[in-house]
């Protein structure tokens, strides 16, 4: 009973305290595509995805109702960082739907610009606003409408204590006359959230903002431990390659003097005393800036199987480069791709449940198989169709008036000079279930079977590989069928033996495929990639790095004269694949179980004459 009453009270008071209008609300999902196109059309970075911003804590003055309801402690604002642009998941602050939509448009435009290094919040927002209004004069009325509506919602200056009143007046002036204000007076609370402006302290690059805070406000909580000078060195954060189980030999750590890779940048501990004590105990201070993004921290590592349990390594592997978008350069020989053969593959015939589909597809493809023959009775062609001409002439002699069409014959050539290499993503995520019967890996397996049947029927040359990675070394590339292999029970055995592996270092796999496919003498070379998600790996490959590296690998493949094409069952594929493969270079299959049947059809479509 108590609980129920409490719940009802909470709902009621929260609703009373909130200034939102859910009935006029606009969700990000409903305008996502429009905003993305707008952002890109007006010069936004093509590689940045648009994502919903998380709600961040934002403590400004609250009304007594809000305090009573315990709400108003957070705000949903927009910002941009290295990994994407963020907009509130929903905007319902204005009673009119149009204003809420306009606010989305406005914030998208604000995100086009960049906040300059150490530029204060007040100045940067005024500068961005001015820039937009100057570049797109049509937006003046939209802006003015938003400002008027927003000012109505802000606290009236006279209701605030002196310091905050001054702050509020400055913000109001800055909104009405962007560029007019230069200094934001200090006050006890943060100013009430300014909906038209970007987030004053975006939560993402916490490390960076902490560093900046520390620089901006000397004193504060920083304790002065540097009374004595210490031997200090700046070290590159060593890539802890062997952080797995028991790979650090503990007996090697004799004292505090050894470098221990300790991440303090996100330490929540307010009490710096402990850290100070530690520093006092150290002879030498090693400091480095952690390069890891917050998202990388929750990952756990996967152990590789013992060598005896693992599949057969065909050779020690080849080294391939990787594109580092931050340095804008190709790091040579950093990835090792190791070709492997499944150890426990037994030769087998095509699984019984696939035989009917396989036969249907084979029949279909044999019709379009390359052949060269005379088409007779053509309205047009390179030779006269003598039979038809004789008939025509004799009919004419006989006093009839026959139609003079279909008097030619034509030699149609259907020769396809084509080689296709298929790369299947065998990362751990393929272990997920798509329905009660099948996992992603099973769907991929069936797809590979039917695809192989198809290409076998057309007579096109093809090869198949599966890949998964664990950082840069090794990138495991399972060889299912080489170009020179015949498609037989042995190959089917290898297909049947595929299993989920580790991660998806797509760039390296594509480069390996490019290498193999470029060696083929055919005129047309198709590099087909089947994937179930974004490129990712344990290290920095997650996110933008992986996307940019994959994009570069695809560009290299194009330069080598190949046609890369991606088929994905990742529903979010539309967000990042256009950037990688171009709008014509990929296909998203929404229902994973359709993949086996759609793949051969797609192949037909891609290669039709």
């Amino acid at each position: 009973m108590e609980e129920q009453v409490g719940e009802i009270w909470h709902k009621w008071i929260t609703r009373r305290a909130s200034n939102n209008y859910p009935q006029a609300g606009v969700t990000l999902a409903s305008v996502h595509k429009r905003l993305m196109i707008l952002f890109r059309a007006l010069g936004g970075d093509l590689g940045l995805p648009l994502e919903a911003a998380s709600i961040t804590s934002y403590e400004s003055r609250r009304s007594w109702l809000q305090r009573l309801a315990g709400s108003g402690l957070s705000a949903s604002l927009a910002w941009k960082d290295e990994r994407g642009i963020r907009l509130p998941p929903q905007i319902d602050v204005f009673p009119e739907r149009q204003f809420n939509e306009d606010l989305y448009t406005w914030l998208t435009l604000m995100l086009l610009g960049d906040r300059q290094h150490q530029e204060p919040w007040l100045q940067s927002n005024q500068r961005l606003t001015q820039a937009i209004l100057q570049q797109f004069p049509n937006l003046r009325s939209l802006y003015q409408g938003l400002v008027t509506a927003h000012l109505k919602q802000r606290y009236a200056p006279h209701s605030l204590p002196a310091a905050e009143r001054e702050q509020e007046l400055v913000i109001r002036q800055a909104l009405l006359h962007p560029g007019s204000q230069t200094r934001l007076p200090q006050a006890e609370f943060l100013p009430q959230a300014v909906l038209l402006w970007l987030h004053p302290f975006p939560p993402v690059s916490q490390q960076e903002s902490r560093l900046q805070d520390a620089k901006a406000e000397p004193g504060g909580q920083q304790q002065n431990v540097e009374t004595e000078r210490r031997a200090a060195e700046r070290v590159e954060n060593p890539e802890s390659k062997d952080r797995g189980l028991l790979t650090i030999r503990m007996e090697n750590i004799f004292s505090w003097g050894a470098f221990s890779n300790l991440d303090r940048s996100t330490d929540e501990d307010d009490d710096l005393k402990g850290a100070e004590d530690t520093i006092q105990d150290l002879d030498k201070l090693s400091i480095s800036q952690g390069g890891k993004q917050a998202a990388g921290r929750l990952k756990f590592d996967l152990d590789l199987p013992a060598a005896s349990e693992d599949d057969v390594r065909l050779h020690e592997g080849i080294l391939l480069p990787e594109w580092d978008f931050k340095k804008q350069q190709l790091l040579p020989d950093v990835c090792r791709v190791i070709p492997m053969l499944s150890a426990d593959a037994e030769p087998m015939s095509l699984p019984a449940e696939l035989r009917t589909s396989a036969k249907r597809i084979r029949d279909l493809f044999q019709q379009i198989a390359p052949q060269r023959y005379w088409h007779r009775h053509q309205p047009d062609g390179c030779e006269l169709d003598v039979d038809a001409c004789v008939r025509y002439a004799s009919d004419k002699r006989a006093g009839l008036s026959p139609a003079a069409d279909g008097l030619y014959r034509d030699l149609r050539i259907g020769q396809r000079d084509l080689a296709c290499l298929l790369l299947a993503d065998l990362s751990l995520s393929t272990d997920t279930w798509v329905n009660n019967q099948a996992r992603v890996i099973d769907v991929i397996k069936d797809s590979l079977f039917l695809f192989a049947e198809t290409l076998h029927a057309t007579g096109d040359r093809f090869a198949m590989y599966g890949f998964s990675s664990r950082r840069r070394d090794p990138i495991r590339c399972h060889q299912l069928k080489r170009f020179e292999d015949n498609y037989n029970d042995r190959v089917r055995g290898y297909i049947n033996a595929i299993k989920p592996g580790y991660y998806t270092r797509m760039g390296a796999a594509i480069r390996y495929g490019t290498k193999l496919l470029s060696k083929q003498a055919n005129n047309h070379k198709l590099l087909l990639i089947i994937s179930d998600g974004k490129p990712n790996d344990l290290d920095q490959y997650e996110g933008r790095f992986g996307i940019e590296d994959t994009r570069m690998a695809i560009r290299e493949a194009r330069q080598a004269g190949l046609h890369p094409f991606c088929v994905t069952i990742d529903r979010k594929g539309n967000d990042y694949l256009p950037y990688l493969f171009g709008s014509n270079g990929y296909l998203v299959i929404h229902q994973p179980t359709e993949l086996p049947k759609k793949l051969p059809l797609l192949y037909a479509q891609l290669t039709q004459n």
Binding site: K33, R34, L35, M36, I37, L38, R40, A41, L42, G43, L46, T105, L109, F136, N138, L139, D380, G381, C382, L384, C389, Y392, A404, L407, Y408, D410, I413, R416, L418, N523, H524, L526, H563, P578, Y579, G582, S583, N584, G585, L606, T607, Q608, N609
Partner: protein
């Protein structure tokens, strides 16, 4: 063709390149996206050089006979009819094969003896061997952005041509083109070109094709004849770019921000 001089705004050195190629009897290949002025350029050059043009729009059913000629049956028996290529060779004209990659590859092989130093066109059917006169010129064009695995020019064919790439003109030049072509005022031409610039950055990501100069000219014509501005842009520029309702709505947002 009218007697008055055709409007053509050069993008670079293409006019002088064309003239040099013509004077040295070199065949020419022009690459560029849809609607960037390839066909206009050929017609302009033909007028400048005072040669007739035979234009063939290539398609995948185009046979060698369509280019060279064939025997037809008339009332008095069969007779030979020259194709556009043969006619151009006989008359010393410019033969222009538009979108040459659309033609099947075995078709374009008939061009080979014409595109090396022999410059001959053998006609098997009539047992003739035509020597091309100095005035004859072969020009082909295609759109390299067009992605189909099996379509694309054979490298052996491609290597027989002098090549030039067209792209959409620089904004200042494009403003001149839109003005010159339609007579619209400069301010409006600038707004159209700015819009096109914004839309072009969406190519490959959200749109298959970039908004062409031709579409801008259509829009300018609609505007000049008094059609309401936003509706004209929608009809002439946005609708031809996409079939997807949501994309069209988004593109109209771009129009509203940059144009209206």
């Amino acid at each position: 063709m009218t007697s008055e001089t055709m409007f053509y705004q050069p993008q670079g050195n293409e006019i002088s390149l064309f003239e040099h190629a013509y004077n040295n009897q070199l065949p020419m290949m022009i690459k560029g996206p849809t609607g960037c002025g390839k066909t206009r350029f050929i017609n302009y050059m033909a007028q400048r050089l005072q040669r007739p043009v035979y234009t063939v729009s290539c398609h995948d059913d185009l046979t060698a006979a369509d280019l060279v000629g064939r025997h037809l049956i008339g009332a008095d028996g069969t007779y030979w009819s020259d194709g556009p290529l043969t006619r151009a060779v006989r008359e010393g004209a410019i033969c222009y094969l538009d979108e040459v990659v659309e033609a099947r590859k075995d078709t374009t092989v008939v061009l080979h003896p014409l595109t090396d130093d022999r410059r001959i066109l053998p006609l098997e059917r009539t047992n003739e061997l035509l020597q091309a006169p100095a005035e004859f010129m072969l020009v082909v064009s295609y759109n390299p952005g067009y992605q189909n695995l099996l379509k694309g020019m054979k490298p052996s064919t491609r290597q027989r041509f002098v090549g030039v790439s067209f792209d959409f003109p620089a904004p200042e030049v494009e403003v001149q083109i839109v003005m010159g072509e339609t007579g619209i005022d400069e301010a409006m031409a600038k707004r159209l070109v700015n819009l096109a610039q914004a839309l072009r950055s969406l190519k490959d990501h959200d749109l298959e094709e970039a908004a062409s100069t031709r579409l801008l000219i259509y829009a300018a014509r609609l505007l000049l004849s008094g059609f309401q501005a936003n509706a004209a842009i929608r009809a002439a520029v946005i609708e031809p770019l996409s079939d997807d309702d949501e994309t069209i709505a988004a593109l109209m947002d771009v129009v509203n921000v940059t144009f209206a």
